[in-house]
């Protein structure tokens, strides 16, 4: 039995109201809550808070301070291997609350019924102010207010160390401050829970000065690594529900085929298997996984589909994009750095570089194919168990598919194979299919895609090309720069099973969709060469290749992938800048320094120059040669600004002209993210990204014919092995005066390609402008 008194207190705009419980025995675990009186700009987050999600305006939805001095944190962002939720987020909260790292004993991430804010597993550090930092900062102020009252000491005379508030000769722990109470702190929140960006905590609570940091900057270990390594972690692949059936999906024969007739299960061989057909979606379920696999193969062999040949095939890809794609209907995006009159200067220039750069389609290619378990209950409640980058958006998509509402859908998040952006718009591929099949059989269903499904039916990073013109003046400086980027729509968030089954989805990419799923191609590579007097950047977008021609409205579906859009724009820019340096007869790294005026850009360039023992001279090297069977060495450099972080990299390669084989021998990368939160974790992320960068530059290209993707395994879609890794050197530039934490996982994968292509030019004197730099392509081009 409890009695209650409420007393409001001011916490930087938001209101702390207190319910003092006088309890008959037993301590009450207490948190804080947020309500929305202070919602900014008239926005309300309340409208899309549903029954099965925590109220994001209540502080205890984010952070719980327990009476035993332990702390629990929650985030909608599920971990995809970067570890930020288990390291950086703990460090940030510990820092803002002034508690030890170890006090944060529990991290809950991604479950839609147990986390407040949604959004995707990207941009974890939120350009310095992730939601969790603000939640902690608000909470800290509330705790100080409580302590001031309890101790009878003015707030400004209090200090906190290790979760103990002290002042005026008195002290009290956070645990004692909250014991036996229920405190409700309300904070302002805006946004749309089931959208790609989720909710954002608004307002400006005071943050701890960087100069007082003691937890951020240290290499705490990622707790989930220990449980994964010891086989103690439950992965999405491990979820087994009572009565669950295993399923495989028989995907259409082509990216435009419709179902003529589904095959029958041979009951003599597979007595327990069953075919489920919904529109063009054909699934096979069975009690055991092996029976499901075999029965699905048998059913696939007798299922009939219409033929379709509506794709250009990759031999004609760039011709198709240049000559046939519709670049007229999407609005042309303009660069924020545009200035002067680049067109006029280029028109009158005598000496200019004018070239086209091309990047192929690439797969996200998770090391395990996508899978999910779904359980559709008789009352219409849906539980999904998956590894997903945006569980709240998935929830919205499944509700839409079932013509239901998000409060009927709960997504449970588990670890799984990283897929680098594929599901940041809510689905990776199997989730919706599992729901459709579960609903059909009235039992939980586990859909596991096979390797071929994952290669041929998932989305891909879009191909792109760019036209660049640069003119260099007599002083060896860029006088004018113009770039036109062309890329099909990058974000198709329609669940493929729903599309095949003919169930409701969000629209296919189109001109008038919201900015994420529209056909527009925005300028996403920030300009870093401010002194250039005439600059013009244009982004041209179009529909996905085959999307309009496919009877399924499918075609080559695209999705953002690690450093999305910016990779497609930075590669041509940075290779062209290296080429412009060669035109000017100036060293490529010095040329960049000559055209940069931002201190941090200059800082990473100098760091990478020194760490790589860069020899200052123009490219190509004096003895460059494009023939022969002796390996020739060269080096190249690239520069990028992404998510508040400056990056530069130097690649040294050896290329054998007669075979076209490129070996990356040394890879040096410098990164200035502002404040380095966790040096070891950042270093490991950068190393991994660097290897993926080599993969993008040398290996990765989606092959497709007129009907669909022709690759179906790791032999036909190769990625680097351990023998391909170079000597890797990572230089972390901790830059506290920036006052923010920038991203550290993306960009590393995008820097390699322009540096390697420039290194090839340095070694051979020949510029190859199409990725990937596969041996056959390199060999052929060097011969001509």
């Amino acid at each position: 039995m409890a009695t209650m008194s409420e007393k409001p207190a001011n916490v930087f705009g938001p209101t702390l109201s207190r319910r003092q419980f006088i309890k008959a025995g037993g301590a009450l675990v207490v948190g804080f809550s947020f309500v929305g009186p202070g919602l900014l700009k008239g926005e309300t987050a309340k409208s899309n808070i549903t029954k099965n999600s925590l109220d994001p305006t209540i502080a205890s939805s984010w952070i719980e301070i327990h009476a035993d001095n332990t702390v629990l944190i929650r985030t909608g962002k599920s971990d995809f291997g970067q570890g930020s939720t288990f390291t950086a987020y703990r460090q940030i909260v510990a820092e803002e609350l002034s508690v030890p790292f170890e006090a944060i004993t529990t991290v809950i991430a991604g479950d839609t019924d147990r986390t407040p804010d949604g959004s995707g597993a990207f941009d974890f550090l939120g350009r310095g102010t992730p939601n969790i930092r603000k939640a902690a900062a608000y909470t800290y102020q509330a705790l100080l207010d409580l302590a001031a009252e309890k101790l009878g000491v003015p707030k400004d005379k209090l200090s906190v160390k290790d979760g103990i508030v002290s002042g005026g000769g008195k002290s009290i722990s956070y645990g004692d401050l909250v014991k036996d109470q229920q405190l409700k702190l309300t904070i302002p929140v805006s946004g749309d829970l089931t959208s790609i960006m989720g909710l954002t905590i608004e307002g400006n609570p005071p943050m701890k000065p960087v100069s007082e940091y003691s937890v951020i900057g240290k290499s705490f270990k990622n707790s989930v690594i220990a449980s994964k390594v010891a086989a103690k972690e439950t992965w999405a692949t491990d979820v087994r529900l009572s009565g669950m059936l295993h399923a495989r999906v028989v995907h259409p024969k082509t990216l435009g085929s419709t179902l003529v007739s589904a095959g029958q299960v041979d009951k003599t061989k597979f007595p327990n298997a069953q075919v489920i057909v919904k529109g063009n979606l054909v699934g096979v379920v069975a009690p055991t996984e092996w029976e499901a696999i075999q029965a699905a193969n048998q059913v696939a062999s007798t299922t009939k589909w219409t033929e379709w040949k509506g794709l250009p095939g990759n031999a004609k890809l760039y011709q198709h994009l240049r000559e046939e794609a519709d670049w007229k209907t999407a609005p042309v995006a303009k660069g924020r750095a545009d200035k002067g009159d680049a067109e006029a200067v280029l028109a009158s220039a005598h000496k200019k570089l004018s070239a086209t750069y091309q990047l192929s389609y690439m797969k996200h290619a998770p090391i395990g194919p996508t899978m999910a378990v779904a359980d559709v209950k008789p009352d219409g409640t849906v539980h999904i168990y998956a590894h997903n980058q945006n569980p709240q958006e998935l929830r919205g998509e499944i509700a839409m598919m079932l013509r239901s509402t998000p409060d009927h859908v709960i997504v449970h998040s588990y670890p799984g194979p990283g897929h680098y952006g594929r599901s940041n718009g809510g689905n990776a591929g199997a989730e919706d299919e599992a729901v459709i099949l579960s609903q059909a059989v009235g039992k939980p269903v586990r859909v596991q895609w096979m390797r071929a499904d994952d290669m041929q039916w998932s989305t891909q990073s879009p191909a792109a090309f760019s036209d660049i013109q640069i003119t260099v003046d007599e002083k060896g400086k860029i006088a004018a720069y113009r770039i036109d980027h062309y890329m099909p729509a990058m974000q198709d968030d329609r669940p493929i099973g729903a599309v095949l089954a003919g169930l409701p989805t969000m629209p296919a990419p189109d001109v008038h969709n919201d900015f994420i799923t529209s056909t527009a191609n925005n300028i996403s590579d920030p300009w870093v060469y401010a002194p250039v007097p005439h600059v013009m950047e244009r982004g041209h977008g179009t529909f996905q290749v085959g999307q309009k021609a496919s009877p399924l409205a499918v075609g080559l579906r695209d999705h953002s992938m690690r450093t999305p859009g910016q990779f497609q724009q930075n590669y041509p820019r940075e290779l062209a800048i290296s080429e412009a340096a060669a035109v000017a007869g100036v060293d490529a790294l010095q040329f960049r320094l000559d055209h940069a005026n931002e201190e941090r850009a200059i800082g990473v360039l100098k760091a990478v120059r020194d760490a790589s023992n860069w020899e200052t001279r123009p490219s190509p090297r004096p003895d460059a040669i494009s023939t022969g069977s002796t390996p020739v060495r060269g080096r190249g450099v690239s520069l990028m600004l992404r998510s508040g972080t400056y990056w530069a990299c130097v690649c040294q390669i050896a290329v054998t002209p007669s075979t076209g084989v490129i070996v990356v021998e040394k890879y040096t990368i410098a990164v200035d993210p502002g404040i380095v939160v966790n040096p070891t974790q950042l270093k490991r992320n950068v190393e991994g990204g660097a290897v993926m960068g080599i993969s993008h530059a040398l290996f990765e290209e989606v092959n497709f014919n007129e009907s669909g993707i022709t690759q179906n395994n790791w032999v036909s879609y190769p990625i680097p092995t351990m023998k391909h890794i170079p000597e890797i050197k990572v230089v972390l530039l901790n830059n506290p005066k920036v006052g923010a934490y920038g991203g550290g996982s993306e960009a590393a994968n995008a820097l390699a390609a322009p540096a390697i292509a420039a290194a090839l030019h340095d070694a051979t004197g020949r510029v190859l402008r199409r990725l990937p730099l596969k041996p056959a392509y390199v060999q052929t081009l060097l011969k001509t």
């Binding site: 086989a231 692949t237 996984e289 395990g368 194979p417 490991r684 351990m722």
Partner: protein, 174 residues
């Protein structure tokens, strides 16, 4: 009915003879260390040790395993190490194989999905070569098996460092 020796224990399994070992381990024996990566022996995510040799459980049929062969999964690495070092089974419960310890200390995994196979391969290597060079490590993970062990997150450098670290721990005994 097939009898399997897994991680030192005998298990009776009711599954068709042609069932890939991977599904028996994961679905019948609840051993979740090995993962399904490709089903084609092209990536190594499903690797187990069979009599100390790294094998791909996704293409190893139940009937391919002889009755006296010993299967070790990721879960069984601590016991395997304990047995080699004559540590009691109880004590082994509270420890990890040096390879696992090194994987944690070097913070090797990113997503971690391939790392089962990486740790199995590392164990196979270190049991035959306690002090491998970088070249030997690269050879082990690239050409010694039926396919290279693939990592999409690009953790190869961290794996090399962890193998070297594990060798140091093993040299010290435990």
């Amino acid at each position: 009915m097939t009898t399997l020796i897994v991680n030192g224990g005998r298990h009776e399994v009711q599954a068709p003879d042609d069932t890939p070992l991977l599904y028996v381990l994961r679905n019948d024996l609840q051993l979740i260390g090995p993962q399904f990566g490709c089903g084609l022996a092209q990536c190594g995510a499903c690797a187990v040790l069979i009599d100390g040799k790294e094998m791909r459980s996704c293409v190893t049929a139940l009937s391919d395993v002889a009755p006296n062969q010993e299967i070790t999964t990721l879960e069984g690495l601590p016991t395997r190490w304990a047995k080699q070092k004559h540590v009691s089974a109880e004590e082994a419960q509270n420890t990890l194989h040096p390879v696992q310890q090194a994987w944690i200390e070097e913070q090797t995994p990113q997503c971690g999905f391939c790392q089962n196979g990486m740790m199995i391969k590392a164990t196979e290597l270190l049991e035959s070569n306690p002090n491998p060079s970088v070249a030997q490590i690269k050879e082990a993970f690239t050409t010694s098996g039926v396919s290279p062990n693939l990592c999409r997150c690009g953790t190869y450098l961290a794996i090399i460092e962890a193998v070297q670290h594990a060798a140091t721990i093993m040299a010290k005994g435990r």
